[in-house]
């Protein structure tokens, strides 16, 4: 580990936000209680696709205890424009329509109206009195169906974009893009073994425990205060401002503790509704989404159809790859197929590649990112075919991957050359791990491996560090803390300032109190905001050097700083000592750091899975699981392990039992945490982790984001393990017991 290089980095301090969380004092969005606060309830469409002819809210407004009712008519309707939001580039009219449906509902659960009342029960009863006159329309639910010429159209105005250029053709295909590298046809001619397979995955949900919530106060001075569970206060502020047609400065968004998000809390849902209700009622309004609505009306991840064709020479060298991948984006075109395309072949050096990707709208909730969005479905396909090739060539699955592994200088599918990456190091760590070497005896047992990648992003962050007289510092940042980043960022500031982690007091600020900071997502926060903290620390050190120079009556450039001590020749002063004398040497010292790094180094993650399958019931029992991931430099190893274990658990759930089970008409039948089967403590073995460290070339401490790549390999690793256990290749997720039985029965036939 990086223990030797650093003093704070590589240690495991208790998280700064820990005490509040174990005592129940931590403030999540739903915990807010403001004087005069009302409770909101959203009425949602029972139809997956219908025209709204009329909405009559009179009875609801007259219901005792109701103070406001809103529909899309209460939303401003300025000129439409294309917005570049975190969730993608899409028209403002689409963003508004997902908050409150105007003339059409596009998925079962689509918000239609909302009520604010003195209690949640009254609001719910009143909402049931709103009369909506729907004209049901035929719904399209399958990605391949939706691509057909004769499929019912969700958006008459949607023109298919072909390679970024509107084609003028009305279609459910929102986008078709292509990556081309080398000469695929020639590559396949050189191949001596070619395998092509089709894979299907079903819509799944991030499964966070805390439902979406928002509290809003439309103040009498015209400013709008919003408290919400979001991954990005500034990205939320921007989206709310567009929807309400307000200048961003009129909004103050305060990010609360987030009870799990994993990509599902980037988009706004309730915030504009609560604001409109508050404006009408003249009082703050809190809305908390029931669990059923979290499943039916937020942003699950796309179901997919992916075809992978790989060609190799007899010696195992992959010569060509062709991929066709269609992702359902749900009701609105915020697609993730492009991200999947960047990751699907990422672990490999393949000279000839052709990828065609399609984002296709269907009558389901508009999909949102889910931890390395689009990459897990893609790896399930590619890593299964890679495993089949290795077996046909009689090669060890890791050796085969090592032979074709991507290295520095390898070109990705989109043509970019990889900078320094840790793909080989991760594969070698997997091969050398006791788990991979351990014997696995017994019937119907098998071991599988798979690789995963997430490219990570940089983007902008702001941070300030102010020095306290007692030698500690206050660190204020704009990054919402999903995965312990208050601590991982404080540790980077402490390392730079020569302090202990507990001498840095981190605080996540609202949009009035810190410079703009991009969303917490793309595994960027420990990387980019940590870098901003390092910059702010350099600013503090520079100012403190001037104070030491003043005291020692020398020039600032003659003062050195190292390990928390200012030095010049024989004289030295610890950080704490100098901090106590700031007032007399010129007043407060506040360091400022802002960064906007171009792309961050990506992270590779591998998985090893041992399974035992009960051939009589089809149940897959996970015996052992190991996650191996490149963290560049693990700032807080415990937090990194936590990310690897959490992502692995989600990948395992995705592989085995999680799915959106829809009725033929398009209604979700399992929208509860009983029938949407996330793994319980009894469904997972201990999750072993191995952290590999190949430092990121640009970051001051070599950090690589680790939040997402770990969810990518588990489904493929488990599919490959099931094959070695019972000799059947499962190419559809989830690999639930009934699916395994059907595969066994068809094998017997």
């Amino acid at each position: 580990m990086s223990q030797r290089l650093y003093t704070v980095i590589g240690t495991r301090p208790v998280r700064h936000d820990g005490a509040d969380k174990v005592t129940g004092r931590a403030q999540f969005g739903a915990d807010i209680r403001l004087p005069g606060m009302l409770y909101g309830h959203v009425l949602r469409s029972p139809h997956p696709h219908a025209r709204i002819r009329r909405i009559d809210v009179a009875k609801a407004e007259a219901f005792p205890g109701v103070l406001a009712v809103v529909t899309a008519a209460d939303l401003p309707e300025g000129p439409d424009r294309l917005l570049e939001l975190v969730e993608g580039t899409l028209p403002l009219s689409y963003v508004r329509a997902n908050v409150l449906a105007r003339d059409k509902v596009l998925y079962k659960g689509h918000a239609v109206a909302a009520v604010a009342a003195v209690s949640p029960h009254v609001a719910e009863e009143a909402a049931a009195l709103i009369e909506v006159d729907y004209e049901p329309l035929p719904a399209v639910l399958d990605v391949l169906e939706a691509m057909r010429e004769d499929a019912p159209l969700l958006h008459p105005d949607l023109r298919m974009r072909e390679f970024g250029e509107p084609t003028g053709k009305p279609s459910n295909v929102a986008d078709h893009f292509r990556h081309l590298l080398g000469d695929p046809e020639q590559g396949f001619r050189e191949a001596e073994l070619i395998i092509e397979r089709e894979f299907r995955t079903v819509m799944v949900h991030q499964g966070y425990l805390e439902p979406q919530n928002a509290t809003a106060l439309w103040n009498q001075d015209g400013r709008v205060y919003v408290w919400t569970s979001t991954q990005g206060a500034f990205s939320a502020r921007e989206a709310i401002a567009w929807v309400l047609e307000l200048p961003v400065s009129r909004l103050c968004v305060a990010p609360m503790e987030v009870g799990g998000a994993f990509g599902g809390k980037i988009r706004i849902y309730l915030e504009p509704v609560a604001a409109l209700l508050s404006k009408k009622a003249g009082r703050p309004v809190k809305i908390v989404m029931p669990r059923r609505d979290v499943f039916e009306a937020t942003g699950p991840t796309p179901g997919t159809c992916i075809r992978v064709r790989l060609g190799t020479r007899r010696d195992g060298r992959i010569t060509a790859a062709q991929v066709w991948m269609a992702y359902e984006t749900g009701a609105f075109p915020s697609g993730q197929c492009g991200f999947g395309a960047l990751c699907i072949l990422a672990p490999y050096d393949i000279p000839n590649v052709l990828i065609d990707g399609y984002d296709v709208v269907v009558n389901k909730p508009s999909t949102a990112p889910y931890r390395a969005p689009g990459a897990t479905q893609a790896a399930f396909a590619a890593e299964s075919v890679v495993d089949e090739l290795a077996e046909r060539l009689g090669m060890d699955p890791i050796e085969f991957r090592l032979m074709n592994a991507a290295r520095e200088g390898t070109r990705r599918a989109d043509g970019l050359k990889y900078p320094r990456i840790g793909c080989v190091e991760v594969l070698e760590a997997m091969r050398n791990h006791p788990h991979y070497r351990a014997a696995l005896e017994g019937p119907h047992r098998g071991r599988g491996v798979a690789m995963g990648y997430w490219f990570n992003i940089g983007w902008y962050s702001s941070c300030t560090i102010s020095v306290n007289p007692d030698g500690t510092v206050n660190l204020v940042e704009g990054s919402v803390d999903l995965s312990g980043t208050r601590t991982s960022i404080a540790m980077q500031a402490a390392e730079a300032l020569g302090l202990r982690a507990d001498q840095v007091h981190p605080r996540v600020a609202d949009t009035d109190s810190i410079g703009p900071t991009a969303v917490t997502g793309g595994s960027r926060t420990t990387f980019a905001t940590g870098w901003a903290a390092w910059e702010a620390a350099q600013d503090v050190i520079r100012q403190m050097k001037e104070r030491a120079a003043l005291l020692w009556e020398i020039g600032p450039d003659q003062v050195e700083f190292e390990g928390g001590v200012f030095r010049s020749g024989e004289r030295s002063m610890r950080f704490e000592e100098l901090a106590a004398r700031l007032e007399e040497t010129g007043g407060p010292v506040v360091g400022r750091g802002t960064v906007n790094p171009s792309s961050a180094g990506g992270s590779f993650a591998g998985a090893i899975a041992d399974v035992e399958v009960d051939p009589e019931t089809g149940k897959v029992n996970l015996l052992r699981f190991t996650s191996v991931q490149d963290a560049g430099t693990a700032i807080h190893p415990g937090a990194v392990e936590g990310q690897m274990q959490g992502g692995s658990a989600q990948g395992i759930g995705w592989a085995l039992n999680e799915e959106y089970h829809l009725s033929p008409e398009g209604t979700m039948l399992n929208s509860s945490l009983l029938d949407y089967r996330e793994p319980t403590a009894l469904d997972l073995p201990p999750l072993e982790t191995v952290i590999v460290e190949t430092p990121e070339p640009d970051h001051p401490f070599g950090v690589r984001g680790v939040g997402e790549a770990n969810i990518v390999p588990p489904p493929a690793a488990i599919a490959n393990a099931i094959y070695r256990a019972i000799g059947v290749r499962l190419r559809r997720l989830p690999m639930k017991p009934s699916a395994v039985m059907e595969a066994l029965w068809s094998k017997e036939r």
């Binding site: 072909e162 043509g415 992003i457 902008y460 171009s598």
Partner: protein
């Protein structure tokens, strides 16, 4: 001279060429010079002095946040890629 890689969809505008060597010290200059040789290419990638909404430019493998303003070295490689975010 820097090398500019042409996205597959736009190679029809460059006579099927996948990459071109072009004079220029910033992405803007490269695009202006490319437009001379291959008319119609610039407006597929940029609108006025900004890249098109979902387009980003990568210089030497790093996706830039500066768009047309990004500096380019003599030996640099320049790619035009889709904007990405994450979960």
């Amino acid at each position: 001279m820097p090398t500019v890689f042409i996205p597959p969809a736009l190679q029809a505008l460059t006579g099927g060429r996948a990459s071109l060597e072009v004079e220029g010290g910033t992405v803007r200059e490269l695009l202006d010079n490319l437009e001379q040789a291959w008319p119609g290419l610039r407006e597929r990638l940029a609108e006025g002095d900004r890249l098109r909404p979902h387009v980003r430019v990568a210089v030497d493998g790093k996706v830039s946040m500066l768009g047309l303003l990004e500096r380019v070295g003599p030996g640099s490689e320049v790619h035009f890629v889709a904007a990405v975010s994450g979960g």
